[in-house]
Symmetry: C2
Subunit: 388 residues, 2 copies
């Protein structure tokens, strides 16, 4: 009897997570002609509920189009199953006759696959295919989804910096990133000269001080006549608390099923608006929350990211044939290569942006940091130097 | 002696305002070989202060690159000169030996040119070249800058709608637009099917009711399992007050030099977050402020917009030769044509989005509205239909 593969997508969508799905389906067709491919709707929920879309016979043309569509075409979930939930999933997979389950997602998704691997005791194969705009998976040089999101953020800051050269003031944009500052730091990738913003970058890896922030802005205004700031939503004060936790009354803090505080709301933005109004009265200051834009903007799907996402999906099928594990994107001799690593190396772990990516005493990228982002995110658009 | 042209850029930058500058410079070189072309820095401030960049001999290659650069390369200003200020500007123009002054901007800019025309009493020629992402100039079918900004907004809503198909909930994005809802309504241009968001569109032209809003969202959730909302920053309640004015304490309202209330802050977003938390408790809801992104995003410069912006600049030089006035983009037989209209027709006037662009009883675009936006903003990216 032909093999049955179940595939699902978990966590926050990205611009290229569907390319990973398409890469996996294509490789299954190549390696296992006649195999059944079931897509579970909304991640593990679809397996629990027996809610599948049969991808086995999906025409190539439709498959190709889905691969160029941002967000998770199968739907996603924030569920982070415990051992009991995993037993239900395992029963669902058995009922579907699955030989292998490929789950595309971040470190929580790797965690689910690790629990399932243990529970299945060799009766089934489990593969984690990487995906996250946060770029926070250990074992990976970078993750599928990050380059497109980083391009969006880099383009946003290049554009806003030009806007504020024309009409000077202070600009703060809050960027997704709970624990890792990579996406926020990507804001500097497309700087055009030494005068370019972002002039200040605040990431979760470095303690934030409101007092120091105002001083930093004031110094930047003296030097550049404007000040462009990139802030991670997960930025924290020295006591280890998320900044939003210090600023928002406890009874108004919203938490998700994992107990994580919600960071993407307007509170943090408002806090920055007030801090600037108090610290630099009368100064034109604007705060935007980039929010959901970076993670799946249809106009900024990066070709390299798209290709690597496809390769990660294809390699996930090879990984299933080799007994399962986590697919990792590593760089050898300047080329991205796919590696198979143990699920336990990735599950539940967060890769932080190295402290050496920022200069020691300023909130600017170091030479090392810039080199990383300029390698991954070469500027896609040529622009001229303004006359002001 | 060769002619002298002064050119300046006013108001909020756009993705293609530099193409209008380049169009004007190119046409001057063609029509008036040897003419002097002075770019005033930061709009009329540069004329007042004698702060010019000499564009006469700028190499073609550099000119071309500037034309592909978003934001106002000469810098901009929010100054809205009165008669006395205009006397100072006129003196500055005379000192520079100007024969003609081309000012690229919105309806305030046309107003400045009208005052200057009267003050100069025939000694000099004044041309207004149109620019605004608000699309709110009378006499124009649409304005340079709007198509690129509209593309950005349409792409943002297509992308977020796909994101919320994967992880359902309520999403609200606040879009620039003080008095005119065109840019907010552009959010619907790239809908892929009848299930697509935005499901609700709130523009300044229709009175906003917080109670009705919650009912609208609830009904949409019942029908589509998610609700994607586009809101203009200038949305107003039935008493004619900007919504933000009803929500924010008077002493916290910020006003610009023209007495306009600042709308771009986080207050409106927070008000929506709270309204949703109160009206639909426990429901996942997210609010983003698109803020500055749409008006000059480097990755979304539309080719048609870029070409028309260039043509508007070139035609402004012809308009100067014909005695001055305002350049208007009109559509004849499906083609955009440049027309010369009196400054007084455009100055200080706001073109609103026709009420017939929305359905009578719902906050959705009518067939007429959709036809307008789909003509101007054809979808640039093909996407597949998700499986959820």
């Amino acid at each position: 009897m032909a093999a049955t593969f179940v595939i699902a997508q978990g966590g926050g969508p990205t611009a290229v997570i569907n390319r990973t799905l398409v890469g996996a389906v294509s490789e299954i067709r190549k390696r296992h002609p006649g195999a059944r491919v079931l897509g579970a709707r909304h991640g593990v929920r679809g397996i629990r509920d027996g809610d599948y879309v049969d991808l086995s016979a999906l025409p190539e043309k439709q498959l190709d189009l889905i691969g160029r569509t941002p967000s998770a075409a199968l739907g996603s979930t924030r569920d982070k199953p415990d051992a009991a939930y995993c037993e239900v999933i395992l029963a669902g997979l058995k009922k579907a006759g699955a030989d292998a389950f490929i789950y595309i997602g971040g470190n929580d998704t790797a965690g689910t696959q690790q629990i399932l691997t243990e529970a299945a005791a060799g009766t089934m194969t489990f593969v984690h295919a990487p995906k996250t705009v946060d770029n926070d998976l250990v074992e990976n040089d970078h993750t599928p989804g990050f380059i497109s999101a980083g391009d969006f953020v880099a383009g946003a800051f290049l554009s806003v910096d030009l806007d504020f050269r024309a009409l000077p003031g202070v600009y703060v944009a809050i960027v997704m990133g709970r624990h890792a500052g990579f996406l926020t730091a990507a804001s500097a990738a497309w700087r055009i000269d030494g005068d370019s913003g972002p002039h200040l970058i605040y990431v979760p890896e470095r303690a934030f001080s409101a007092k120091r922030f105002i001083e930093d802005v004031r110094e930047t205004l003296d030097r550049h006549k404007r000040c462009i700031v990139a802030v991670s939503e997960g930025v924290s004060t020295a006591d280890g608390k998320a900044l939003v936790e210090s600023l928002v009354p406890a009874d108004r803090l919203e938490r998700d099923a994992h107990g994580n505080i919600r960071l993407s709301g307007g509170d943090l933005g408002m806090a920055f608006e007030r801090a600037l109004a108090d610290g630099l009265p009368g100064k034109r200051a604007r705060v935007d929350t980039l929010g959901y834009m970076p993670r799946g903007y249809v106009g900024m799907i990066n070709e390299t990211d798209s290709r690597e996402a496809f390769e990660a999906g294809a390699f996930a099928v090879e990984a299933a044939d080799r007994g399962g594990g986590s697919v990792a994107l590593q760089v050898e001799n300047g080329r991205t290569v796919m590696k198979l690593v143990p699920l336990g190396n990735v599950a539940g772990k967060t890769r932080h942006m190295p402290d050496s990516f920022l200069e020691a005493d300023t909130n600017r990228l170091s030479t090392e940091g810039l080199a990383y982002f300029e390698r991954l995110l070469p500027r896609k658009f040529d622009v001229g130097k303004p006359f002001v």
